[in-house]
């Protein structure tokens, strides 16, 4: 997106929240940015990487989020402004380093941007990062719209330098992955030089060595920094109030919920009764500002996602102020006015306001909704997620599932994080039986693999993607080899971080900025740590089946099998089908064939359809990606493939 750097200051552009954050970092003169891909955060680093050369930046996709935080911190220690970016889970990974970082403080401005995913639209949890700000005792900022997503980044860097510590700016899916109009600011010209100064007095925050020790002394300093941030928050331009001077109800909110609250108040026409206090600074809360607003109103509604973070911090303040200003009624999550899980939307806020103000509201006429509901039930069959046509994972899981069934000792697969997590569901033949954090599949397998002394005799398989392998599988693999766990690790190497949009990883010969980079070969790593390693093509189903069967049968310590086949959406494959597929309607005899519709009923590639009228399968020419795998699945040879010219 050239607008990111070529856009004219003062002009408005339609920017995705993540682009706005990236532009904000550029306007702040950021020098280094590091992150690990994860929805909904990925476009921040992606966009910065694209303009890195022009903007004289260094941008990387780090091997995991802890490393990203360390790379960004090094830049800060050397006096540069740095950004680290991750999805909510990444903060868990980075937190060990972060806790030590914030004890010692930062030099050049450093901002961490976690993008949370309320409602888990692209995650398997909706855990959030805001509580880390409280745990780490650092300031927390939350933009309330797209313009703020840009503007607050610059403010965050200034704040970080004012207090000498890390600042967290939290986004959510509905900001990061939504787009809105943003007025650009100017890009700075000058670039600082990097120098790590370490020769000064040991306790000098700018000249000495950096560390969180001596802890008692540094912790006091850290809390003083937080107090300074709180005092700056009292006049922060991103805390805004709209509404009457003495509202019947004070709505307090932050982040994307700001837009939902604004709209709900407008739709219900209650702007003369409800005031909206939108907070851009949510930890620590600016006490004087909150007090001014609480003094004017006895009833409060808190709207936020996901955990009752703002609610609880506000209640602490309300309790502290109660003797002076009297008790306040607070409607929020704990009293169930607002749902305690999932993402918010304007309708939840409407429902809360309707309840508090005793109003009535109908989103659409009841008879319309009823009729539409019946039509959906009758006419819109469920659309479960599935692997793309041509996806190597479908072939891989077909083989894994069949081999475990052939082996017949109740073997199972420990899952991991990526597109292949869908192996938990129908599209992967329910092959995965555990699913946790990045790298946990191999760690769990390592543990299962030592339970033979307690009589466990089931074959144990772990799966991992190529990017996940570098992120956090290596330590678990080393553990499994060292303790001689009997497991098979299958690495689905599809040549990129596919789930999040093909970001490069250390296994590729290119880096985030598009420069040549030395690649780390997964096969060599596995061999070097002592695992018996084989590489095969999952599209060669017969050979893959035989190798896998042999691997899981014996007690052989750690076996690694690398399934090498590029993602169907990878730049080298997308739109270029390898085979022309043909289905001979005379050979496919449908219900009368012993296969019982194996290709559509069981294999279920979206590129195949069942022709109900004529009772045979057919290839959907719009959807088929020409991978040729279904030709291996059809037992009668009705499906054939022909190499395209």
């Amino acid at each position: 997106m050239s607008e990111l750097i070529e856009g004219k200051p003062g002009q408005r552009y339609l920017l995705m929240g993540n682009q706005a954050i990236a532009r904000g970092a550029l306007e702040a003169g950021v020098s280094v940015a590091a992150g690990y891909p994860g929805t909904p955060s990925s476009e921040i680093i992606e966009n910065l990487a694209k303009v890195a050369d022009e903007a004289n930046m260094y941008v990387e996709w780090s091997s995991n989020e802890k490393v990203a935080a360390e790379v960004a911190a090094a830049a800060s220690f050397a006096g540069l402004r740095s950004l680290c970016v991750m999805k909510q889970n990444g903060v868990n990974v980075a937190s060990d380093f972060l806790l030590h970082l914030v004890g010692g403080g930062t030099r050049g401005g450093m901002v961490i941007v976690p993008c949370d995913d309320p409602g888990a639209l692209s995650s398997i949890n909706e855990g959030e990062s805001r509580h880390f700000a409280r745990m780490l005792e650092i300031p927390l900022l939350e933009p309330g719209d797209f313009q703020e997503a840009k503007d607050m980044v610059k403010w965050a860097f200034e704040l970080s330098e004012q207090i000498g510590n890390l600042v967290m700016l939290r986004s959510v899916t509905r900001l990061s992955h939504a787009s809105g109009s943003v007025k650009l600011g100017a890009l700075p010209e000058n670039r600082p030089r990097a120098r790590f100064r370490h020769g000064g007095f040991v306790l000098d925050p700018q000249e000495g060595a950096v560390t969180s020790a001596p802890v008692a002394y540094k912790h006091v300093l850290q809390q003083e920094k937080l107090e300074k941030a709180e005092s700056l928050f009292e006049d922060c331009p991103f805390n805004t109030y709209t509404g009457p001077e003495n509202p019947e109800l004070l709505v307090i909110t932050s982040s994307a919920c700001n837009l939902y609250c604004r709209e709900a108040i407008e739709i219900l026409g209650v702007s003369d009764r409800a005031g909206l206090l939108k907070l851009g600074t949510t930890w620590p809360l600016p006490k004087k500002l909150i007090r001014t607003h609480l003094e004017n109103c006895s009833k409060v509604l808190v709207v936020e996602e996901v955990i009752p973070f703002l609610e609880e911090n506000l209640k602490v303040l309300a309790a502290e102020l109660a003797m002076e200003i009297g008790p306040r009624t607070i409607f929020a999550k704990r009293d169930k006015t607002i749902p305690s899980v999932g993402e918010m939307n304007p309708d939840y806020v409407i429902a809360a306001l309707v309840k508090i103000f005793d109003l009535s509201y109908e989103a659409a006429p009841a008879d319309y909704v009823e009729k539409a509901g019946l039509c959906v039930m009758a006419g819109a069959p469920g659309r479960d997620l599935t692997f793309c046509p041509g996806c190597p994972h479908r072939a891989s899981y077909w083989t894994l599932h069949n081999v475990l069934a052939l082996d017949n000792r109740d073997g199972f697969i420990c899952g991991d994080i990526g597109c292949y997590s869908l192996g938990m569901r129908e599209t992967g033949y329910y092959a995965l039986k555990t699913m946790h954090a990045m790298g946990s599949g191999t760690g769990l397998a390592s543990g299962f693999g030592k339970l033979d002394q307690f009589g466990m005799d089931q074959p144990i398989v772990a799966v991992s993607g190529d990017s996940t392998f570098f992120h956090s599988v290596i330590p678990a693999l080393v553990n499994a080899v060292h303790y001689n766990a009997d497991i098979t690790l299958v690495v689905f190497d599809n040549s990129g971080t596919a789930m999040t949009g093909f970001q490069p990883h250390p296994g590729l010969e290119v880096d985030a900025m598009g420069h040549d980079a030395p690649s780390i070969d997964i096969e060599s790593v596995c061999r070097a740590v002592g695992a018996q390693t084989t590489v095969c093509d999952p599209f060669d189903m017969e050979l893959t089946r035989d190798i896998l069967l042999e691997k899981i049968t014996g007690k052989n310590g750690v076996q690694v099998l690398i399934f090498k086949q590029s993602c169907a959406l990878s730049p080298e494959k997308k739109g270029k089908p390898r085979y022309e597929m043909h289905l001979d309607e005379n050979i496919c005899i449908g219900e009368n064939c012993g296969c019982n519709k194996l290709c559509t009923r069981v294999f279920k590639c979206p590129g195949l359809n069942w022709d109900e009228k004529n009772q045979h399968a057919r290839i959907d020419e719009v959807i088929c990606a020409g991978c040729g795998v279904c030709a291996s699945v059809c037992p009668t040879g009705a499906i054939t493939k022909k190499e395209r010219a």
């Binding site: 929805t39 787009s179 109009s181 309708d347 069959p381 469920g382 659309r383 069942w610």
Partner: protein, 213 residues
């Protein structure tokens, strides 16, 4: 940048829906960019990531002369639904529809794995059209995927539907705005074929008649 003309409603709420892989996100960004050029403030809410993998994908566009709106349209408040797949239109109407909504629907089905495996039956075309007509004030049914395949690639159906929308007299967008928008977003060699797809979509809607089916 021209001054924003009056909208039929402000904010004007439009949903583009379809299945992962149909180019929904690109369509919403092209349309958003066209309307931004016209001086409107556009807010787009999207879901993508896991939802790309064969799931339902929906983009919400809020078009306004007043400023930024929620990236999620409140329930029952869509003014137009552009559907790249017919059953997805029903799903969206259930949540965001109302008796005054307009629907532009690509008629080509994309079977979900529940249909492919035989657990559910995909509805008949006539039935589907009748339901969509019953749930809308105006509906247009266009064989966009078929026309796109005739142009050489099914993916153009998304741009055809935006072209169709431009001809429906609902929003102030035309082929010139489209050309400007895609020239900024796409490689130069793709602009002309996308302009053809846009024009083809507009023709298809006009052939159906401006008052819908």
């Amino acid at each position: 940048m021209t001054a924003a003309a009056n909208l039929l409603s402000d904010p004007f709420n439009l949903v583009i829906t379809g299945v992962g892989g149909q180019g929904n996100v690109l369509a919403s960004r092209v349309l958003g960019s066209m309307l931004t050029q016209k001086g409107y403030s556009v807010t787009i809410g999207e879901t993508f990531g896991a939802s790309q993998r064969g799931g339902s994908v929906m983009s919400h566009l809020r078009i306004s002369s007043k400023g930024t709106w929620s990236p999620q349209i409140p329930k029952g408040r869509a003014h137009v639904v552009v559907s790249l797949e017919p059953t997805e239109a029903l799903r969206v109407l259930y949540e965001y529809g109302n008796p005054d909504v307009y629907v532009l629907c690509n008629t080509r089905p994309v079977h979900s794995i529940a249909v492919i495996s035989g657990q559910f039956k995909y509805p008949e075309q006539d039935e589907l059209r009748q339901w969509i007509r019953d749930l809308s004030a105006k509906a247009w049914f266009l064989e966009a995927t078929g026309a796109a395949m005739a142009m050489g690639n099914a993916i153009f159906a998304n741009i055809m539907m935006i072209g169709a929308l431009s001809a429906a007299d609902i929003l102030p967008v035309d082929k010139d705005t489209f050309k400007d928008a895609v020239s900024n977003m796409m490689a130069a060699d793709k602009v002309s074929v996308n302009c053809d797809a846009f024009a083809r979509g507009a023709d298809m809607l006009l052939a159906e008649g401006i008052s819908g089916a």
